[in-house]
Symmetry: none
DNA sequence: CTGGTTTTGACAATCATTATCAATTAGCTA
DNA sequence: TAGCTAATTGATAATGATTGTCAAAACCAG
């Protein structure tokens, strides 16, 4: 059976109150800083649960950390990243979601996850490079 | 000054000869398996260099490993990868190509490249897991 | 060939994450 | 409300990928 613990609630609320993505470590630090004695392992478990039930999204930062964010109703999206200055723009990718699901099913794959990121030069860096 | 060493060449060739993405660890194993006494740290350094000079692309797998692939301008396609047995299926992604181009343009990005790969469990592994 | 640097590679260190496992606790039931 | 039972917690150890260290080896110019 699945139980409701204050720890899980704390993690959920901390996520809700966070703008954008946050790492498990950072979330744990934030909780500690605000006086919660919650354990690190528990934060990881709670985040994992939230992610697996679809209440949170997760992605991998370029440094290899797992980042999480509260899942708004429309949730899942991807990123457009400037390869020069690192600027990141969030983009929705509904056509891709469906495509990924369809392709996976077509080949008998289940539990499909996908990695979709677009790299390019942002407007500012394009200008800079044109000048240089 | 930048020197040419057989180790760096070995890494570059191993990458070129690899279909799709491969982890640094796997590449090192492959090199060892084919008789090369190259060190692990050197493989990491070489991959990092290749990635920073644009000769290779890198991405984070869902498991948090860094994956690399030779940056081939020819024969663009994507992959459907079984996260259990490693089976890889090549897939075409025309809808995604257009989508990526459109999204990049929409945000003022130029020189858009994209990383699109789908991870899942292939039919065989799905069966195995269901049984276990 | 020789000198001055860069690069290598074995190994230690680091960092995020996961597993372990005894102690605690939520939620049901009477 | 008290008690029972299984899920959950959390301190810590373990894991696994990646990076730092530094003496020895290799590269390249002269």
């Amino acid at each position: 059976m699945k139980r409701n613990t204050w720890q899980r609630e704390a993690v959920r609320e901390a996520l809700d109150g966070t703008e954008g993505f946050i790492s498990a470590q950072a979330l744990h630090s934030a909780l500690h800083a605000s006086g919660s004695p919650i354990g690190l392992a528990t934060v990881y478990r709670a985040l994992g649960d939230l992610a697996s039930t679809g209440e949170a999204d997760s992605l991998q930062s370029p440094d290899g950390e797992a980042l999480y964010r509260a899942c708004s109703t429309t949730g899942h999206h991807h990123h457009l990243i400037c390869r020069n200055c690192g600027l990141t723009v969030e983009i929705s990718a509904e056509p891709v979601e469906e495509w990924a699901k369809g392709v996976a099913a077509e080949h008998g794959f289940t539990q499909a996850a996908h990695v979709v990121d677009v790299f390019g030069l942002c407007a500012a860096c394009t200008k800079l490079q044109a000048g240089a």
